[in-house]
Symmetry: C2
Subunit: 221 residues, 2 copies
């Protein structure tokens, strides 16, 4: 990971190269697709040599996995931000996860994105050819079902596992239908539907809302 050669001049194979490859992968894998993005295009966009590329990532699949791990880390941070806002009840936290997905309909550049969840998209593209990628996505989504179930339990749901599974399907549908319809609306529809499912699964909604005055309850962190 040296960034400076013996001559003191920056080398193409240094730390900056790895970051440029990962930045190129994040943009191209997400916007144009994983299978459609070849090493030649990554090398060109990252402005590195093919040799440097393979020094950092022995296979394209290794880069796909690093791209997904990096996305997972950013997503975990974002989930934490949404869950630990002041004064949220567990019920509010469940809705906050749907609000997060609705907010994400506008990408960082402000323009609408309908490319869906990078992890789900990777599972679709991996099919039978990238088993480690399938496993990474599977583990992540299992974690999401557990998170929803845990919050549902703290919210007092009669059957937290059932509510957790229901909300997980709805949350995945929010981004997936957004891709299929090429529209941000399903992300907002999912938040609206989540309200109905949560209201039905919690024994007494009004008393749960009153608990918000007791202050925040940290779940992730």
């Amino acid at each position: 990971m040296e960034t400076v050669g013996t001559s003191g001049k920056p080398r193409r194979g240094g730390r900056g190269a790895r970051e440029r490859i990962l930045a190129a992968a994040a943009a191209l894998f997400y916007e144009e697709g994983i299978q459609a993005t070849g090493v030649a295009r990554l090398v060109e966009t990252a402005e590195v040599s093919t040799r440097t590329f393979y020094q950092h990532f022995p296979t394209k699949t290794a880069l796909v996995e690093e791209y997904l791990r990096s996305y997972e880390a950013r997503l975990s941070q974002r989930i934490e931000q949404y869950l630990t806002r002041d004064g949220l009840t567990p019920e509010d936290q469940l809705l906050a996860l749907f609000a997060m997905v609705a907010d994400a309909a506008s990408g960082p550049s402000g323009r609408t994105t309908t490319r869906g969840c990078p992890l789900h998209n990777a599972a679709v593209e991996a099919a039978g050819t990238m088993p480690d990628v399938r496993e990474l996505v599977q583990r992540h989504k299992q974690g999401l079902v557990r998170l929803l179930t845990d919050i549902a339990a703290r919210a007092g749901a009669d059957d937290p596992e059932r509510l957790g599974r229901h909300l997980a399907v709805l949350l995945e549908g929010a981004t997936a239908l957004s891709t299929s319809l090429d529209s941000p609306h399903p992300r907002h529809d999912a938040l609206d539907a989540a309200r109905v499912l949560i209201d039905q699964a919690l024994p007494d909604v009004s008393s749960a809302t009153e608990q918000s005055s007791q202050g925040p309850d940290v779940v992730v962190g």
Copy 2:
């Protein structure tokens, strides 16, 4: 579309060739992915020459579109079968669409499939490179939202468009989360969640169920 040449012997470029190409596409595009399946692999599996392939499909994208139209036609037939079963109320019909997706967790061969909806998967893979494919999927899913909304209206929902949109997100989540989790369970969870959303959206569930004695109500056909 001649199948017999001037010599009277069968030709590789005849009607059977087109069917073999479509059969190879249906299997490979679905199981291994659209982008991962090249023309060379299609030609090899279909046992046709590259020249014959391009005589039938000038581009791979043309074959992708034909593959999706063919799937859409089969799906429409299956939807009709589920909706026109004897004695279904509109409420039953909404649930029948979710039962259909749950039933489809077991593929034709009896083994479990977790490859999701071919149309959604195509939208993921098409990204920005196949705009006509994106449009085909978009039109299909818009039709599905309309179908759900129409049945919701006949079921007497207070806000049929809202229920239609909610159920569309859930239905897409059923297959999408099935892919991500590599599990058939989300398809069954979606059916269970649909019951909750439908129960909540219909003003009087018990009287709607009693209408089933009035006989079937054909929606598609």
